[in-house]
Symmetry: D4
Subunit: 254 residues, 8 copies
């Protein structure tokens, strides 16, 4: 709560327009919808422009239905990530407009008039095995209002596949670059564009890939500028931040 | 090189306006200024809006002077990071307009008419020991055109210091959040704003901080959305990406 | 054996009241009930106020029944942790007063007149997925005589959920704070109260959470004072220590 | 701020007794003394019974003098940890009542009438090389009001040194157990007492001790109950928590 | 594309023999066969002497059939590594000449007139459990044109088994040495021959073998000269490089 | 082959008593029984007093039968470690005198007149979950000729269980001490006896036990003298070395 | 204290020959010489055949002199390890018979009639850089009564250096094998002898040797039987255990 | 020793042409020049075409002079790596033809008629800070008979620098690719050539580069074929293996 809002509330209390109890409640009680197993922030869309995203892993199908319904009472958008097949089936059965994205395990609900989004987030993917992570990034960015394009199977061992698409690379307002194994693709992309690159290491690999740690370390040590990194396999996190960047309004001088 | 530029060059070849040798050279030779010890990209400012940044660590003072002079022939801006005191002294002696930022070890040259920058990058810093890293981020973002403000000593063990400044947090177009030890500050900041947060772990701490790895892992595992991470102590990388985000133009529908 | 008890025993030997053989046995043989697979300390409740706790993992259902019965011969309290569903079913069938706590896998037996406990141990939990660990802490502290309350789903990405409950936080004599992912919650709680905080990292997370090591390291590096840490997912250990703290009598000047 | 205090403040506003500006300031401005390089919480002693502790590492001698003087304006107690010899000399020269504890690098100021403390915190130390860490724990606990005793050089390879002192072990209200190398001492102590044990791994050792990580892991995996762990070499943290435990008032039924 | 080829193409453009569109396409479009899920480099055999190798892990049986057929349109050789039994069965059913190597999970197609290969790659294997990795190396080197021999079960704990075969060791042009556990065999072999040794750590072992990391580290630290290392269990990578070495033509003075 | 044996063989060649071919074969061919999948050293019992031990993990039941039969042609003793239940059943069915030790998964064959062994190897075990590893050590030491006794469930959290048995500890010629979790038992035992202690870390534990690495590190860093360590869960290795030590003949002055 | 000694003491109490106070003191007070900074076990030579060894690291020269003098009052033998040059000089000046071993930093005092020792401990060393660790092992084993021989610079990359000395290898009663880098030498030695091998990894190496961890892991994973391992650079520990093994008396049937 | 040589020696014994003693010596005594601190293999050049290389680290200047002179008695070539400035100065003073390569710390002696070498080893280097490692590789390969060329400062963040030199890349018979930070360059080079690539990770970087481990892991996980890896900063090892590959004779069919 900003200082303006606080002063206004206190003026209301002084003027007798706002009862003390209501002000106290307002100052100590944020708008939380308590389901027992979860505390939902139902005012998030008002504040942020998009509702709370539901992380599906570790929740039962019934819990996910319950949460989804509660959120859809306040919004006509929904994003659930990392659902199991069982949870996805139940959600699609119980929530008429729900769409299942099997490659990433996401469930989405969009308003009927959702366009193709604004700006451009480009999701670049090194290898076929990395596609589920890339897809999670793409669905997430799309749900947060970005137009999304994909560039798949352009790993650094065959550079011509990437170099033939530099125009597309440079058109994007933010790039998500997904790679496993040695995780070198973000450095190469970062050297070709002057836009923020969000790098996503994946757990694709074996032996000394250490479950994605090799790719993670490589990306953190990139010699290219303009790269930041999210957790291993965290397509959601990368798509979310890319969409935030894509929504950045025009900068102005003060 | 984009496809338009390529077609135009080839048309010039067909028309006889561009000699074959020149076209071959153009297609295979990027504009590199070769100093022996370094290959400088002197056209970068034309392409990117700012010249190449010089990473000072591991270069001799004389090499840094040589590189800086070469870059200043093509630009009136210069940023050298991680200089030693010796290198900084020589650079300031040899390059009249050079400014030394001792907290971060940066050297900068700015054009005389440089304003205070556009947009706002906010650099938030958990503790006093993290200040050199935060300062590197701030100087970098400033040199790439952003207006920069700082919020220091607001670690999570005393939340009221941060909660009293939420208006400033929400005003920023991009935030750099610097923390060592348990690295919790980016999660808290990320829960308070809906803007991209670039988290910088520092090597501040001892014992099981493992030289900053503890803070790095915490930031990668943040439960808040909209956070990405750079290497330990990499204030430059965070400031660079925050400035790129700050420069993002208004998104438009296609 | 304290020096008083030792002197008394030796006086008994000198006085001929205690046979040499008995004294030798007493000095070399603690009161152990040997089941072959386990050596039970059946005098523990006399010394400590509560009987030995049974760690159920890696023991067969039959072994657990055998151990439980042997302990209940000396006490009317029982706590078995980390039982499988099979073991829990057998224990409940064989031991009439046994209660199964399915969320944590604990089995308890309490005397009929057990009240709600004394003092207050507060178990604070960051996310829904951390609940089994929190529940183990709560059951353990309850069995060791503490009144226990819970505060769930108050992770640092939505601070208002926690800040609205500071009165409860400050009422507790000891706090168990359970969190996975970046493990930041204990630092925030530790900054709000001046009571001992026992932090429990959980294995909740993926990728660079490294099975809970990220949260563990964060908690060990907390910038807040008054925090100590137990093993990953070790709700029992945290609940046990919190109950010991809760039982601390009033300090007196010497 | 608790809800009672909040209601009372708001009633004051309604009654016109508290000006709106003052209330707004009260609600948004904690009592922070801003030195530029540090933001001091000067009301801490009122709230917590002891003033803010100053972590000396990474601060200049002059900064430490400045901070110490500011804190001593609000309190007649001071604890500065991890000072260098230079800083300690300056602090002792500038602050008349300052006492230097060279073994641990602590500086303290105590009121003239400080007694020997209440309750008992026992600091147990495995080897001679671990003494600086044990000393930091002892000084800290003493400054937070505890009576402190020490038991040194009682490592597990010569158990009789420890077993001869079980009476002292059992007298303590809280124990700090400090050990490097294999870190086994807390497990043995934890098996002998039914009081909270705070284990402190030290970086004493070589080779596979990995700078104290071996001892840290051992302590986290202790098979004894009632043990929690702080960061490597963190004597301050252990002493602080032991003093908090020592201050725990008598539990009461509700 | 080499400079000669580039000049020739541009001359063709100038002479009007090559249309501008075709040249532009040629310069920006490598010969990629796009299957949606994969982008195949069908000209590889022309350039390199052998077609693209298919990494079978993480691809569905149907995808592998589709890729294999596409590659066999351009070549009469095929190597698919790391197939499951299901994929192998389908490939053998759908592709008449396909041969299944069950020990390594490889599928191969060879031209009818394939001889026994040229030169000699020797695959040395420490223990029976390492055989699948050794077999992958052998099949790979064979498919890239090398004559391959094997020397199995010659671990360092029984040196006489190896020392009896030094003639075979010295006959090889390149050696692949496969070992798990302590990974010492490459050092011993490297001390006996003056040929390149490609060391392959395997994940054979338990406990502190850390999934092959112990063997990997040992090989990287070999005190013998002439040894390089590939990823854990990466028989393919070692066989591939050994075959490249085997194909090296006679060196000539300039 | 020692120099005496070599001189003798060469004298035989010179005297015409040993044909050149036979000598060459003797010098280059150790007595190996090659089964294809394994190369058996059938003369080992002659040299070492006991036949080769068969490591059962990763071998098929049929391979184990084949190897066991081949070894029993040269010896009336057999030890197979780490068999699966299937392999054990087949071995017992096919080899009449085979005995299955289900706790450790060992299979043994002993001569009918095997006594109870000489000397004493004591296997000390911290907890019930560590018993399979302890049992493997015990069976191995027994098969190599040692008399073996066991001391189970004497972990350091209840020292009296161990201190009551110091006479047995001091009777042993070599001790195997098995412990998981914090791995402290070898340090305590090593402080009580002046005999070689072979420490075996087990993978018993969770969270920060890191699969036994915590116990391994603790044992390597033991502050007691006379302790060495084998791999995690390697009961065989510890039993083998303890038996070698037990067989050490009386030292003599030169 | 064994049970015989205990019975005897108690009989003395009953008979009035031993006063109760004396018996209590005897039962609770081991013979410790308390120097303040150290608690010396001055009866160790009576019990163990050799006095306490002094670990010199982290002790001041004066402390070492004080400890050494105290021990020499009860014994005519002394071993101090890891002294600095300053400490060694002071010890040699203050203690007339002290001998400095500069290669290992050990100080020894031996009785005038000390022979060359009994039995044979062989210290095998892989490379020149490993010699200080090997020397510490040799001096230690010598001081505990063993005859010691050395075999230096016999790393596995030149096997013939080792194979030429197999007679010496087989003569030893216990072997200490010291190696850095890939740590392969113990496996090779272990395959050549049927005696206990104590492996010592050293921190010799760079890069992925990780300060000796690579050699440590290799040794723990040795495929040869009869090998156990001590901490990195712990020559003392290996020499101590080898001497214990060397002192093992002849085993007897019961 | 091959079987032919062995048969011939034994025939000589039988014929009385070779004395038994000489044969025994020949069979058990390799040609070692023992300097006390080092055992030199002076016949290596006869066998391998180049003399033993001297690893200078950890040897005193005088030892290096002694070793160098001994080797130069048998050869007119010498390579000493990793000398300190002091050692280099002494070697150049004492050995007239010695040449110091200060960038890499190597000392070389070459015969007067050494040409520029045969074949081509190309040393590719990512950044200026990696040059010392690259230089060590280049000097080593040159001393083993290869013609060497260098390609410096061609890191992946500016791909055009590398793509402009593909002709040189493809001319090489073996490539050494040196990179720190994210270690991506070998993957890119490996995708451009069909020759063996030896990748050298360097310790250049900070924070999560973990002393070169990040680059090492990246290289081990390369998605390009034909790449193997040596230890961090091991320019010597890479240059040595590249030279061995370069010397590979033409393969022939059998």
């Amino acid at each position: 709560m900003g200082i303006d809002e606080l002063l206004s509330l206190l003026e209301g209390v002084r003027a007798g327009e706002v009862p003390v109890d209501a002000a106290a409640s307002r100052l100590s009680s944020p708008p939380i919808h308590d389901l027992g197993h979860s505390q939902l922030d139902t005012h998030r869309e008002l504040r942020c422009g998009h509702p709370e995203v539901v992380y599906g892993a570790g929740k039962t199908p019934l819990q996910l239905v319950e949460i989804s319904r509660a959120l859809l009472e306040h919004s006509d958008r929904l994003l659930v990530t990392r659902t199991t097949d069982d949870a996805a089936a139940l959600l699609c059965a119980e929530i008429p407009r729900a769409v299942h994205h099997p490659a990433s395990g996401c469930i989405t609900v969009e308003p009927p008039d959702a366009g193709e989004g604004e700006g451009l987030v480009l999701v670049v993917c090194a290898g076929t095995s990395d596609l589920p992570v890339a897809e999670e990034a793409a669905v997430t960015a799309r749900m947060l209002g970005a137009r999304v394009e994909r560039l798949n199977d352009v790993g650094v061992a065959g550079l011509h596949r990437l170099l033939g698409r530099t125009d597309l690379l440079r058109e994007a307002r933010a790039l998500v670059v997904v790679a496993g194994m040695e995780g070198a693709l973000p450095s190469v992309v970062g050297g070709l564009v002057e836009r923020p690159v969000i790098a996503v290491p994946t757990s694709v690999g074996y032996g000394a890939s250490l479950g994605g740690v090799a790719a993670l370390l490589a990306m953190l040590n990139s010699c290219a500028s303009g790269i930041s990194v999210v957790n291993i396999d965290n397509g959601f996190g990368a798509g979310y931040q890319a969409a935030l960047i894509n929504r950045t309004p025009q900068a102005t001088k003060r």
